[in-house]
């Protein structure tokens, strides 16, 4: 294809300009998913939901800040955006060890697709889940990753 002629260039420019309407999408991370500090003896679960509600089972003591991960999406005004959460549990592994914990029960807020603001073209969403701690879980720093993505619907 050649863009040599002015007519062609003009056509391309027009096409690009009109495509601009839905042509960009960006995502920024605002805060991390935080389960606070956990003192565990007997095992159990700690849940931090995307709507910021928290819960625990077993004899776990969880202190400190507990908060869902939050993200800001910027795109086209009034566009629908869908969030894809992990399809399976995330595994966290202890630094300097092989012990693991799992994080599942992924949920997002808003739950499902949502609409970007009609004026600013922005929206925010949060992600939470449930951490399962084994009884006699070895103390330490457990780290892991989880995938989250956004897409225009």
């Amino acid at each position: 294809m050649s863009f040599a002629s002015a007519a062609n260039a003009a056509t391309t420019a027009t096409a690009t300009a009109t495509a601009e309407v839905l042509s960009t999408l960006s995502v920024t991370a605002d805060s991390a998913l935080d389960f606070g500090q956990i003192a565990a003896n007997t095992g159990g679960t700690v849940t931090v939901n995307a709507d910021s509600t928290v819960a625990s089972t077993g004899a776990l003591v969880s202190t400190g800040t507990r908060a869902p991960a939050s993200f800001t999406v910027s795109g086209s005004q009034g566009a629908m955006v869908a969030v894809t959460l992990p399809s399976s549990a995330a595994t966290l592994t202890r630094s300097g060890g092989t012990e693991t914990m799992s994080l599942s029960g992924w949920n997002s807020n808003p739950n499902g697709a949502f609409q970007l603001d009609g004026t600013t073209g922005q929206g925010t969403f949060s992600v939470g889940g449930t951490l399962t701690v084994a009884s006699a879980q070895v103390a330490g720093v457990y780290s892991g990753t989880f995938d989250v993505s956004v897409e225009y619907q």
């Binding site: 690009t16 009109t18 601009e20 042509s23 935080d34 389960f35 399976s88 966290l92 990753t145």
Partner: protein, 278 residues
């Protein structure tokens, strides 16, 4: 190349415009912007995408191909490779792209080339993958690791690998699709009131457009942009968030709901209905 330059300029402009609005959330390493956000290749072809680092530090991004299925609520489910069906596998195999890993300085854009060619023996249809652009998280600094280890108990460090996916459609053969609208009604979700509309799809490809609600005098009551129904679902529900004013106007008299192609695709009417809403 001209197109890329225009796209770059467009992104730089967009980034500049977006900067004041983005100042509220702290910019993190790995923040990203992608354009365009939808690619349709009829009987195969090439496309160029642009990934831009909108974070405040250098970041490395991974580009890949993922599979998704739409649910009847319009959500996307991730499809692990092991669970992919024949059409999804064919789609993943026909898409070629490069590069697959990019390190970018803050504000730096980079083009990603994409091509797809359906094999001659494949049946006609719409093949779809979702191209993903994700930041690879940086390693934990030794100081931070030490600080966390010193805290005792169980400490959790979770790193989101967050990114953007865009649908890439490869259409083979002459495909057609249509849609109808049904059962618009108000639903309550928490404190929010939403208008739930069912979009029924027929034919051999996805449908895509905007849902527009118009009042008795033809005034626009809502406009939901970028509503798709993918071939794996025959119908889906679309929920339109409503404020009190929109709710009052929607229930005041008959409402016309239109499902139209996006304005940049000609804005042609796909489906419409006129009804009272309660």
């Amino acid at each position: 190349m001209l197109q890329l330059q225009l796209l770059r300029r467009l992104i730089l402009t967009t980034a500049a415009l977006a900067a004041p609005m983005l100042s509220a959330p702290a910019q993190a390493q790995g923040d990203l912007l992608v354009a365009p956000t939808r690619v349709v290749l009829n009987n195969g072809g090439n496309a160029e995408l642009v990934l831009s680092n909108i974070g405040s530090t250098e970041a490395t991004y991974r580009i890949g191909v993922e599979l998704r299925r739409m649910t009847e609520n319009g959500d996307f489910l991730d499809v692990p490779d092991a669970e992919a069906n024949a059409a999804e596998k064919a789609a993943a195999e026909m898409v070629r792209y490069a590069p697959r890993r990019i390190t970018l300085l803050p504000g730096q854009p980079q083009a990603v080339r994409l091509s797809a060619r359906p094999a001659p023996e494949l049946p006609d249809g719409e093949y779809r993958v979702h191209m993903s652009f994700r930041a690879i998280p940086p390693a934990l600094s030794p100081e931070e690791a030490q600080k966390q280890a010193a805290a005792g108990g169980l400490s959790i460090r979770l790193t989101p690998i967050y990114g953007i996916t865009i649908p890439v459609f490869v259409r083979k053969g002459q495909l057609a699709a249509g849609a109808t609208l049904a059962n618009p009604h108000l639903v309550k979700s928490g404190k929010e009131i939403l208008l739930d509309i069912t979009v029924n799809r027929s034919g051999s490809r996805s449908v895509y457009g905007e849902l527009i609600g118009k009042g008795v005098r033809g005034e626009t009551l809502f406009n939901l942009r970028g509503v798709a129904v993918y071939p794996e679902v025959a119908h889906r529900s679309v929920r339109v968030p409503l404020n009190a004013e929109q709710q009052a106007k929607l229930t005041a008299g008959p409402v016309r709901i239109e499902y139209r192609e996006m304005p940049e695709n000609g804005g042609q009417l796909i489906a419409e209905m006129t009804t009272a809403i309660r």
